[in-house]
Amino acid sequence: MSQETPQAAASESAFPPVGIDAKFTAPDVQPRSPWQRWRDFWFCPADPTTLAFIRISTGLLVLYIHLAYSLDLQAFFGEHGWYAARFINRERKESPMVVTPWLDHWEDSQEGWAQLSDFPHRRAALMRFLRSLPADAAQRQRDLAYLQRIFAYRNSADVLIALNYVQSMATERELERYLTALQGGQVELSEEIVIGARPKSFGKQYEPPPVFATLSADEKRQLAQEIRHFWHALARVPWIDPKQERTYVINHFMEAGPVMRQALLEFMLTLPDDEQQRNALLDYLEYWNVDPRKVYRQGHAIFSMWFHVTDPTAMACIHGGVLVLIALFTVGLFTRVTSVLVWLATVSYIHRTQQILFGMDTMMNILLFYLMIGNCGAALSLDRLIARYRATRAALRRGGLDAATRAFLAYPPPSVAAGFAQRLIQVHFCFIYMAAGLSKLKGGMWWHGQAFWEVLVNPEFTLLHYSWYENTVRWLVSFKPVYHVMLVSAVWFTLFVEIAGPFLLWTRLRWLIIFLATLMHAIIAVLMGLNLFELLMIVMLLAFLPDRVIRDRFRGGSDLPRFRWCFHLPRDAECRTAAWIAAIDVDNQVRLQPVSAEQKTPYLLRDHGEMLREQEAVQVLASSLRLAPLLVPLLWLPGLRGWLTRRLFPA
């Protein structure tokens, strides 16, 4: 046996058993617990460049959307806009939310809500009746005792008959005749009886309903009293058209159904004695058609500056400020703060007038919300430039660029926050697609293909108002096979992308789905004119791109000119200047090179050794650095070139 070294023995023991060549075996897969998988999925670091690019794209679109608002600020958000301030303010404070009990038993009686008719003239009649009910609870109880009695009948037909019974009592004289007949008395008829009616029918009209006939004499007397009180309650109401409006009230009780009748009765019986409180309840019922005491929640959890600011000048100023904010967010200045302010501002517009919104606003909000969570200003931003400056400055103070600083300057470091925000966008996107796709399966048009035709020739959305488009579509569909194939291809394609996409995006087919989804959104944008909506969807798709795709697109090539910036390290002012150059040198074209104190001013050194100073250096830098094209127009501002020269060459 040969003498093995301990290292060789150790390495051999790491190999699998004899017969298997370890060199060609895949490394052992470390099993991960569900918690680890979850953590790795949601909290893995990612290159913030992708999120930053999403920020820029979103910011530009949001800026456009809000610039477009400038043309309609008063019409959409003003005091007398399409949805006037008085309506939205009432809605956000009072809008009712009702919910049925959750923990009751099947045998428990259903809980209903007092409701009025949706027809204004009927509702008005009902409200007149409700408002005329006595303030005193005992009196009200007495006036509504008849309803209490009949609403308790199990047989709805008896309820209807009993209501019709009162309906028939058109006048007080009729009332007394009916009640006389009810209590078994003889009805005295007058000459007002319809001429021509057969004598046998005289008095039959006053016969009480069968459900009352079985009552004892005392009960009938009590019933008569109840009817009398109810009838007088109806008569006391200041009707505009008594006959018609009385009928509306009775009709409503008839149509309401047992549960709603009981709820309405309970509402009437439990009205507060206090006039102010009673009026508040009645006003609420009239406007919202629900008893506020039965409401689970009132109002909306929404906010908007347009609820509180209606002066046109102030609105214009605030709107201008919002546009500036969005611009700052887009260029990535103080992104942690501007992202939150932009989200708050844009949601303010959304909450004010929801009637003007469509899917585009939903997507815009989703993106802004998740961008607020992730550090979307860590790359492709002014914040990144500031961070580059600060990192370089700190490193120069320590004596030079260390490895960590150089790595930071080369690429924005991977960030858990960026990865988390990207995951949020990805997962939410899958929810959107899945819901959109599956919900389409409810409609026969999507199975048949007709849905695409409806989209293709919708006059308000498509380009159909252009004759070239109309003629092109007409020519296409004139070939029946083309028409049928086009229809089914379009709908099957849509359903495939929306239903299968959320699954395939997590597989190797991700690129295919990204391509197909982008194609789908582009087609919708062209056909339906919903450009901004589809652009926002495509921006969401960017979250699925691999880390380096965006970053590498922005990286400069190896043919970029290279320089050295020579400065004296101990001189603070020159260090600051060097840090600024490093900050804007996003492609690391300039190498910082400390030199001796003999050089009185810093200078720029080209690769071939040419030394440049002052204005010449400024000009070369401005024309060579990749960010420079953004700065070059600024150099034409009077005095800026000189100021820059003095900053770069302080001596």
Partner: protein
């Protein structure tokens, strides 16, 4: 930038540590300054209870709170990894809540949420990392649970949403999802893409004059008021395409779609009104017939209750105020609102040549189904709740033009009963009228 800390003594261990953290003193100063500014607003608010202030001081308080919150927000963003910066942010938001005027209740809500978020952030940073990740994971489940429930919340045919969705959504999720505006169900063009709607408004301003007229139905003479009319269409190309991508146009299209929410027919249990609605409609059959091909049950569309109670009155009020020069004129003006459902042509109609060799136009007036939604005054009050044609389809019927008929000078291929109804004219008067002169509704406005 010049407030950088003194050179970091130790080398950064990774790229993430290359940027030196902002100095604690700066962060504290900013946060305390923000808290102080909010405190000033709060003190002003307290004094306001004792002494009445001019209204503009409310604006000052709002600006102070805004500035204070932004400063503290900046401080928080500088050192978000420290739990006490979150605590300071919570305190600032709380003081800001007091500092805001009561009338700014919606932003008090925002600050209340900010307090909760900041306290949550402070707590998360104070606990070990694993607990932190676990708490965030719980939030993720909560958040996406809500997103999922929102997608299951719409009704499907005759079935409401599942009870689980209704209960959880109403009791737990609604305020959260509403606040962050993530209540959408994402049921785009589902179950089916429907026709688009336009709105046509006829503004009628009472000039105070009267003329003798004959009731077209009874033939009786009566004194009719003289109105000045103005037709307004929404949305309208190209007037409403105010930006390059047409966003202003699509916004207006959304406004019109809100009024399309409704149910065909009269919903039970309003059966009494149903019979009255039909009876009232029948009284006008002689003048305005029913649509010849639409099922009668679909010719009556009762809008949703929120449309009837708030949207229509608001739209009416806005249109009148926007299109009248002053308040006095607005007071004398009413508006009739028609919702035009624009049907798409079936492919057979679209692609096939007509007998005269032409193709059917997708913008022909007969492709529109106008529904009368009521006449309103400037306050948004519905003037005639029992109008015979309220919520009914007022048809635009196809007709054969009569070339040599003096009563058909424009040889119209349609009979516009919407103008008959809107302007109280007879069909013959509408046939003879010049649309381009504004005598009746000009259908070319819709293209």
């Amino acid at each position: 930038m010049e407030h950088d800390t003194a050179a970091v003594a130790s080398l950064p261990r990774s790229a993430a540590e290359a940027v030196p953290p902002w100095p604690i003193q700066l962060v504290v100063r900013l946060a305390v300054l923000g808290l102080f500014i909010n405190g000033i607003a709060a003190v002003l608010g307290g004094i306001h209870y004792l002494v009445s202030f001019p209204p503009w001081l409310d604006g000052v308080r709002v600006l102070l709170v805004l500035a204070g919150c932004i400063l503290t927000g900046v401080a928080l963003s500088c050192r978000a990894e420290l739990w006490w910066t979150w605590g300071l942010a919570a305190a600032t938001a709380l003081v800001g809540w007091v500092g805001l005027p009561e009338t700014w209740d919606s932003y008090r809500l925002v600050l209340g949420v900010a307090v909760a978020v900041a306290l949550g952030g402070a707590l998360l940073l104070a606990v070990p990392k694993t607990w932190r990740l676990a708490a965030i994971s719980l939030y993720l489940l909560f958040h996406f649970g809500g997103i999922f429930l929102a997608t299951t919340s719409p009704h499907t045919h005759n079935y409401p949403a599942p009870m689980v969705t209704i209960q959880l959504y109403t009791r737990l999720y609604h305020p959260y999802l509403q606040f962050i505006y993530m209540r959408n169900a994402y049921h785009f063009y589902s179950p089916e893409p429907g026709p688009a709607s336009l709105l046509v408004f006829l503004l009628r301003t009472d000039t105070g004059q009267h003329v003798q007229a004959v009731d077209p139905q009874t033939g009786n003479p009566y004194e009719r008021k003289v109105y000045k009319h103005q037709w307004v269409v929404m949305p309208r190309r190209p007037d409403d395409v105010r930006d390059p991508l047409g966003l202003s146009y699509y916004r207006r299209l959304s406004l019109t779609e809100q009024l399309a929410r409704g149910s065909p027919g009269v919903i039970v249990p309003e059966i009494f009104e149903k019979s009255e609605v039909q009876a009232r409609r029948m009284t006008r059959l002689g003048l305005i017939p029913l649509h010849p091909t639409e099922p009668i049950g679909l010719q009556y569309r009762l809008p949703n209750s929120d449309v009837m109670r708030y949207l229509l009155p608001s739209y009416a009020s806005h249109v009148i105020l926007y299109h009248t020069p002053d308040v006095q004129t607005a007071a004398r003006t009413t508006v009739k609102i028609y919702r035009l459902e624009h049907r798409t042509l079936r492919v057979e109609t679209f692609a096939a040549r007509q007998p005269d060799g032409s193709y059917a136009s997708p913008f022909h007036p007969t492709t529109y189904l106008p529904f009368f939604m009521g006449e309103f005054d400037a306050n948004g009050e519905l003037i005639h709740p029992q109008d015979e044609l309220l919520n009914w389809l007022v048809p635009v019927m196809p007709r054969e033009p009569r070339p040599n008929d003096p009563d058909d000078p424009f040889r119209k291929t349609y009979l516009d009963y919407m103008s008959v109804h809107a302007l109280d004219l007879t069909p013959q008067q509408v046939l003879r009228a010049d649309e381009s002169a504004g005598e009746v509704f000009n259908w070319s406005l819709l293209r």
